[in-house]
Symmetry: C2
Subunit: 233 residues, 2 copies
C-alpha cells in the first residue's frame, strides 16, 4: 500500500514527525502537496463525511487519519515503531501527546497572541513568552524525557527498540538547536542523554539518507521552530 501524506509543502512543521516515521519504516508514500500541489490537499479537507480539521493527515487505503499523534499511533503498530502490548502502546502514545503539547508551546514562543496574527505584530509579547518558555517549560518537558532516558537505561527512550517517540525527540532537539542556537547551547549540558539520542537517530541509515535528501525540507521561518535573533538572547 502506498500511503498519501497531506501536509504543507514548504515547512517541516507537524508533518515532520510523520515524515520521520514513514522514512524510518521504509514505507512507500507520496508527500501529496509537495508532488501534486496544495489544492489536492485542500479538496480532501472539504469533502466527505469525515473531513480532517487541519493537516497533517494520512490516507492509508480507505482510512483518512488526522492529528499527528493519532497518525503515529496508527503507523507505529504497523511498522514496528511501537510496542506490541496495549499497555506499551498507550504509554508511547502518552509520551507523544506530551511532545505534542511541547510543540505547541514552542510555536507559541513566536505567536503568543495567537496563530492568526503575524510575528511582527507580537514581537514584544514573543520575547516575554520565550523567556518563560526557557525558564520554566523547556526544563520541565526536556527534563522529563531526560529523566525517562536515564531511568530505563535502554538505548532508546522506552527501552531497547526504537519507536516513533525517539524520532520525535530527535526533531525537538534539532528544532530547538535551529531556533535558539545560543539558548540551546547553554542548556544542552542538562540533557546529555537526549543529545546522545538525537545523534543515534540521525545516524540510523534510513534517517541519515532522508536528512541528506531533498525530501527533508530545511528549517525556515514559516514552521514551528523559527530562528528570530531577538528571541535567542
Amino acid at each position: 500500500m502506498r500511503y498519501e501524506l497531506y501536509y504543507w509543502p514548504s515547512i517541516q512543521g507537524r508533518g515532520e514527525y510523520v515524515r520521520l516515521a514513514l522514512e524510518e519504516a521504509g514505507a512507500d508514500y507520496v508527500d501529496v502537496a509537495r508532488q501534486r500541489g496544495v489544492p489536492a490537499m485542500m479538496r480532501m479537507m472539504e469533502e466527505g463525511a469525515a473531513p480532517p480539521f487541519a493537516p497533517p493527515f494520512l490516507k492509508a487505503g480507505k482510512f483518512v487519519i488526522g492529528q499527528t499523534a493519532n497518525i503515529l499511533f496508527y503507523l507505529g503498530a504497523r511498522h514496528a515503531l511501537a510496542p506490541t502490548t496495549e499497555a506499551g502502546r498507550l504509554w508511547l502514545h502518552q509520551l507523544q501527546l506530551t511532545i505534542t503539547d511541547f510543540v505547541l508551546e514552542a510555536h507559541d514562543t513566536h505567536h503568543p497572541l495567537g496563530p492568526s496574527l503575524y510575528y511582527e505584530d507580537q514581537k514584544a509579547e514573543a520575547k516575554k513568552r520565550t523567556r518563560e518558555f526557557w525558564k520554566e517549560r523547556v526544563p520541565k518537558y526536556l527534563g522529563y524525557f531526560e529523566c525517562l532516558s536515564a531511568k530505563n537505561r535502554g538505548t532508546w527512550v522506552t527501552g531497547r527498540k526504537v519507536t516513533y517517540v525517539d524520532l520525535s525527540l530527535f526533531q525537538l532537539v534539532a528544532g530547538l538547536r535551529y531556533a535558539f542556537p545560543r539558548r540551546m547551547k547553554a542548556f544542552e549540558a542538562k540533557i546529555p542523554k537526549l543529545c546522545e539520542l538525537h545523534d543515534r537517530v540521525a545516524a540510523r541509515p534510513k534517517i541519515a539518507a532522508y536528512l541528506a535528501s531533498d525530501r527533508r525540507i530545511p528549517f525556515n521561518e514559516d514552521g514551528i521552530f523559527r530562528h528570530y535573533k531577538a528571541l535567542d538572547v
Copy 2:
C-alpha cells in the same frame, strides 16, 4: 475494577472530560486527590519507571494512563463510548485531539505569555489574545464541529450513538458560556446543533445526576474556563 482518577481536586480542568466519561459509563471510580489529598497524586508522579508528565491520569488495574485524550481512548473502548471498528476509533480520537487543541487555546486566552505567570501580569496580552480567539479560532473550531453535526444528521456528532466526544463538546459549550457569557450569547446562533447537543448530554440521566451532585466541581477562576469581565466584552 475500581478506577482511580488522579487530577487536581479543586477544578474541572482537563480532568473533567474524564469525569464525564466515567459518570456516563456508570463506572466505579475514586477521584483520588479529592478523597485522599494531593500528596497521594504527587507520589504517583514521582515513582516508577513510567511516571505521568502531568494530571490527569487514570489507574486501571496495573495500567497508569496519562493524557486526557489517551484516557478517553482507553475508556471509550471499554464502556461503549466509542465505535467498535478501528477506523471509527481513530476518527473519534482525532476529534478528541482537536478538542484538546481547542482547550489549550481557551486556556491561553487568559495565559498568552505562558502558564507560569499570573493572569494579573498579562491582562493586556490576554485581551488581545481573547479578541483573536473569538474572531478566528472559536468560529473555526466550533464551526467544524457544527458542520460535522449537520453532515451526519445523527443525534450525536458521529452518528446514532453517544461517544466521549459528545460529552467533551457539552463541556466546551458549558465552559464558553461560563467564561464568556456575553460573547457566547452573541455567537450561539451560529452553532444551533452544538447547543442542542449540549442540552441532550445534560439531560442524560447519569450526566444530569452527576451535574446535580457535589462530584461536579463548579467552574472557577483556577480552571481552564475562567470568567474575567475584562475579557468578555
